[in-house]
Amino acid sequence: MIDISGLVFRDLAIQKLRIPPGHTAVIGPNGCGKTTLLRLIAGLLTPSAGTISIDGCNTGEIEAGFVNEFPDRNILFYRVEDEITAPLRFRGISCRKTREMADAVIRQADLSHLTTRLSKQLSGGEKTLVALLTAVVPSPRILILDEFDSHLDQESISLSLDIIEHSGAEYVIQCTQNMDLAARCDHVLYLSEGGLELAGTPEEVFSRLKRTCFYPGLWRIRDGT
């Protein structure tokens, strides 16, 4: 369980929040603190006050994969192959084992065609897919994805969900503006300018957002509204 208590960082304040294992969507208007919350959970930011613990551990003590909302900020290396294998090489894992682990992830995703490319040749969506593969290759316990789907078409989103599912991550926390995607997650957190407003299952959260544009489009068709 991810436990957040008395959290304060700049404008973001969350008194109490428990995020169970599974796939959690973080939704809300632009600028309401979604990215800040994700970066705090990933251990990339330190709260001004309060605590975040993940299964009793501090953030930063847990292996986390992170995909940035700016695709170019994910990519460090000239060749895609070097990018995907980098997290393993940084850990000093042997070349043979690195190759095996990276190949397994790439083959499962059926994205071998990207590995021979140069990073600068990739489209925005392809950069996102490479960033996702790079994030999952060390098998993190927690996977944090900041609006990566905004660069993807529907088929690529489905492919990404397969990659995420096969990653084995216990916690997947994904910020998204695709409400149909959020509706497929196990849990949804709705942040507004005033902080955390709603948390629960998709049914619980979206039932409170029915009169807003945050209600999933596919549910509107289902409901005939």
């Binding site: 208007p29 632009n30 990215t35 700016f70 490319r117 993807l152």
Partner: protein, 232 residues
């Protein structure tokens, strides 16, 4: 006024895209999968890239603008104020349009990506252009801003607007639909007739079609009206 792709072909490593077609005044939507060449075509349409074969003919187009997929790639100013000034615009109304009033001294990179996109689009929409090319204008925006952006695009009354996007829910009304299929730019025709033949249509549209309901166009209002008809 017209933009014409004449047997255009671009080849990059494993990537190939070819196509011919005329873009006339009105709103055009071009969809395609990740890596299918949308951005490459957008660059060529804007005159910022050249095809390996074929040519692009522009007739009666005096001013052209490409809004790039990533707003950070447009940045030249170190504050919101200087960024807006670099577009030869008065900061105050643009900041108000972007919902960022009072933040003129902030670093653009202190904004969230959605806020940065809003700032960039506010600059774009403050100028009239004969040819406006929008590469993924809805990415990173929340649903309210997507609808506002769709409204702004829909209110453009002159010139050629080409939107390259895979946005699946909040779109403007469009006049002509195009799709990139297996390396080829295909004209699907005018909307609503073209919606039937749209292969990689948005999930919401696919769900409506499955239920035998066809919206009149792609705007949120059109989709909501069609959603109501599913229960008639």
């Amino acid at each position: 006024m017209e933009l014409e792709f004449m047997d255009v072909l671009v080849e990059r490593d494993r990537f190939l895209i070819r196509g011919s077609g005329r873009f006339t005044p009105g709103t055009h939507l071009v969809s395609g999968r990740v890596g299918s060449g949308k951005t490459t075509l957008a660059m060529i349409a804007a005159g910022l890239g050249k095809p390996d074969r074929g040519s692009v003919r522009r007739q009666g187009i005096g001013s052209a603008m490409l809004s790039m997929q990533f707003p950070e790639q447009h940045l030249t100013g170190s504050t919101l104020e200087s960024e807006i000034a670099s577009w030869h615009l008065d900061p105050d109304p643009v900041l108000a349009l972007a919902g960022l009033s009072g933040r003129e001294k902030d670093d653009p990179f202190s904004l969230s990506r959605g806020e940065l996109k809003r700032l960039h689009l506010a600059c774009i929409f403050s100028h009239p252009f004969d040819l406006l090319i929008l590469d993924e204008p809805f990415s990173a925006l929340d649903c309210r801003e997507k609808m506002a952006t769709a409204d702004r695009i829909g209110s453009i009354r002159a010139g050629i607007t080409i939107i390259f996007t895979h946005e699946n829910q909040h779109l403007p009304r469009v006049d002509h639909l195009w799709e990139i299929r297996e390396g080829a730019l295909v004209s699907l025709g005018g909307v609503p007739e073209a919606l039937v033949g749209w292969k990689n249509k948005p999930a919401v549209l696919a769900e409506l079609h499955k239920r035998g309901v066809y919206p009149k166009n792609l705007s949120t209002a059109d989709i909501l009206e069609a959603a109501c008809r599913t229960h008639d």
